[in-house]
Amino acid sequence: MKISIQVNEGPYQHQSADTAYQFAKAAIEKGHEIFRVFFYHDGVNNASRFTVPPQDDRNVVNNWADLKNADGSDIDRVVCVAAALRRGMLDESEAGKNSVEGNNIHPAFRISGLGQLIEAGIQSDRLVVFGD
């Protein structure tokens, strides 16, 4: 099946991001395709390349970045632009448009609009929401 995932909370504060990752991994292991992971609300914070978790703990951002579909193709990891901007998650393009010096989006993620979430709902057999 084609499955998409919505992640509504950031890493570490709530378990949602971890559960979503474990679910995605299990789905891939069972032969399903992850069509898209859409990061919304505080979920956008999962895409920060600035996170430095303790060495004895999991790295939530890298978990997402390393996740691949069974055919070896990358997962489509989309960060909602509106949610990202108000929470300080920027790629180079958005930083430039908004005159901010620096950017913090991990290259494994891309910033896009909410239409990507609706499209994921249309194109996938299932859309599973993980939040708090």
């Binding site: 609009g113 239409g115 609706i118 859309l127």
Partner: protein, 134 residues
């Protein structure tokens, strides 16, 4: 693209958390995709469409007027749990009078808000292809 039934499930009061506002932002974008869209307001989610919200005192943006614009985007199925209203001492009169113009009926103005029982909500929910929870 194919047409699917999308339900937006709103269970939280506005302002205390961002979910109400960011749910509304999705709904507005969803309108452009010409899917079959329903909104459900249950539990404290019913406060999202209570009339007379004023946010000057808390320094936050009042986004309640945006619900009034939903009709213009052909989003006109807002289901509100009667049990949730009752428990909270609220009635339909406390809600914003949200309406739309029905293009199939000479643009007659019709209500968008439907107060329904949980049993009816259950049926509506069971009929959905996608449920987004906020």
């Amino acid at each position: 693209m194919s047409t699917k039934k999308f339900m937006y499930l709103n269970r939280k009061a506005p302002y205390g958390t961002v979910y109400a506002l960011e749910s509304l932002e999705v709904v507005l974008i969803a309108a452009a995709f010409e899917q079959d869209v329903s909104l459900a307001f249950i539990d404290d989610g019913v406060y999202q469409i209570v009339d007379g919200q004023k946010t000057d005192g808390i320094g936050m943006k009042n986004f309640s007027s945006t619900y009034r614009a939903l009709g213009d985007y052909d989003i006109n199925k807002l289901y509100v749990s009667k049990e949730s209203l009752d428990e909270r001492g609220l009635s339909e009169d406390d809600l914003m009078p949200l309406v739309y113009e029905d293009e199939d009926d000479d643009w007659a103005e019709k209500p968008s808000v439907f107060v329904v029982s949980n049993a009816e909500l259950s049926k509506i929910m069971s009929d959905q292809d996608v449920c987004l929870s906020f």
